[in-house]
Symmetry: C2
Subunit: 341 residues, 2 copies
Amino acid sequence: MTHNRIKINDIAQLTGLSTTTVSRVLNGKAKQYRIGKESQEKIKKIAKELNYIPNQNAANLRTGRSNTIALIVPSLNNPFFANIASNINNEVRDKGYVTIVGDSDEDVATEKLILQQLSSRNIEGIIIVPCGNKWAHIKELHDQGLPIVCIDRYFDNLDIPFVSTDNHHGAYLATRHLIEQGHTIIACIQGVKESTPNKLRIKGYLDALSESGIKDILITGDEFSFHCGYIETKLLLQQKNKPTAIFTLSNTIAMGAMKALKEERIKIPDDISLITFDDHPYLDYLATPLSCVAQPVTDISKIATKFLFSEINRNKMPLPKILLKPNLNIKESVKRLNSRY
Amino acid sequence: MTHNRIKINDIAQLTGLSTTTVSRVLNGKAKQYRIGKESQEKIKKIAKELNYIPNQNAANLRTGRSNTIALIVPSLNNPFFANIASNINNEVRDKGYVTIVGDSDEDVATEKLILQQLSSRNIEGIIIVPCGNKWAHIKELHDQGLPIVCIDRYFDNLDIPFVSTDNHHGAYLATRHLIEQGHTIIACIQGVKESTPNKLRIKGYLDALSESGIKDILITGDEFSFHCGYIETKLLLQQKNKPTAIFTLSNTIAMGAMKALKEERIKIPDDISLITFDDHPYLDYLATPLSCVAQPVTDISKIATKFLFSEINRNKMPLPKILLKPNLNIKESVKRLNSRY
DNA sequence: TCATATTGCACAATCGTTTGTTCTATGCTT
DNA sequence: AAGCATAGAACAAACGATTGTGCAATATGA
């Protein structure tokens, strides 16, 4: 295609200098290699005039650096991840890098496929929201020395760095809030069971319950998806021991739950209370603004990027595993019950 | 980093064959170059055993093909674009390509910057939602022979192919719907004025009005943003000649409008009706489910990708400019007025 | 049996950079 | 004036694949 592009050699010819010199000037190594002022200016001038655009592939082949990182998320359709993607993309661009984005579609096989595709491209690092609880393929790359940071979801017992939310605390806050409002039959619709954040959220939920001596434990679900929220809510509504509150462990699950509740004409919070993990601007304009555990998305993105680049640049930054505090955003979806007292 | 990776030459050594032969077998050109069955199997076996991963940069340098396309959107945070990104990403991955995603942040300067970054990478094609009405930098690349498809927003008078919605028709439908429900004072909050979709939407709005002999024309706004929707709605509410309905030209504008309305305690649709361009799952769960003009996002993504690849593969596909019909999704945000009759 | 086809594969150039090393002036020192 | 330092720049070898062409060895045909 666009292959009449001008190359470093053309500039060399036109300036009467060597490609070596041109390369060094254009890479800002002029002083280091004592290139004369005049030569420098001549080169820069011509390069600008001809609109020289270096061929990154050639450079990459030689240096092994691609100025490219990858971001893999379970679904760009999930506003939570889209937000992360947007943030990271901006951070990365400012460093002169580009981001290859992979959408694993919440499917481990796809995730593996994407990592494979990436392996052949000399990307310099990966920020990933692992979609499942399988980590062999990720660890393999990490072991080969490829900088990797997990965000949001991660693997506790591995030595792969991560930046996430204090999920236990978040779930604890949400559950305690429900309890404080008088709820005692609190259902929790979870996502991927074996994933670390999910386990911790469940633990937070359980801890809050047991702290208050509540024995009714109601955990269902197995996917961070709309569908899961919908199905499980439908089922919950069938129970004899109907919950007065539902705690959904992701925004997608919450949306599914809302659909089910709407279908059954059950009002939030009058008939049932709802609280969820993950915030989103839309939540404020819902029929009932949804109380939620807001994750510090921007900070997570920033820290993850910063850390990834410190790894890429081999500045040993001592920041392997970090959890940020979430925020409990109380809106209007939780009703105060007095039934118990 | 991971530079003890095995290369084509290693396989050549181990099999006792030449790199040429190995390359040809691994690229499926065995028949074409009459490589013997035995050699083929030996090569494939070893390649698999050693988990050979080709260095795309080397190949790319030689062939000029990068198996990479770029997608540039104004904001991944906008669920409409996130949805597009997700769709395209999946399409592209299935073809063995990867997607570099650029978030131009609704800023032309950033968009230019991104295109520059991409120029040096031998990407094979671009799908872009141009953020503004400036096209010189895009046309330049297109003129150099780089396959480019605009989606959603596009430039009418240029020869750059596009896939979008029939914006005129969509706006016409929405406006006519409002009129049919008895509204006569209908405000329209627009986005980037000079952009083609915006112009066409405005035209659809005007055509519907004039068709019904409505003289009150109320157009404000200048950005496809939350902020614009918020501000303009606030201002509209100050007018003496207050509109009974608002038509927002994007989902972001609609959200801003909702915020303003909520602040002013103005109920939808009781006090004012609202209809918007762009659908989103969340819209169904809003305080008042928002009637909208739904764009065929999936089809747009599919067609755009298909066309881009036909360009990349130089199959001259006669599909330069295409507009898909939008759908009017009537929900509950438009009130039937009888005041006029 | 000799000429010609065909099969199977290797040589070596090439893609556009980067970079360790070398080389030649010129200037400086004493 | 001889010796050495330094400034300024070029040589040429990589990086790891792809590919036009050439060259044996074997098969085929008359």
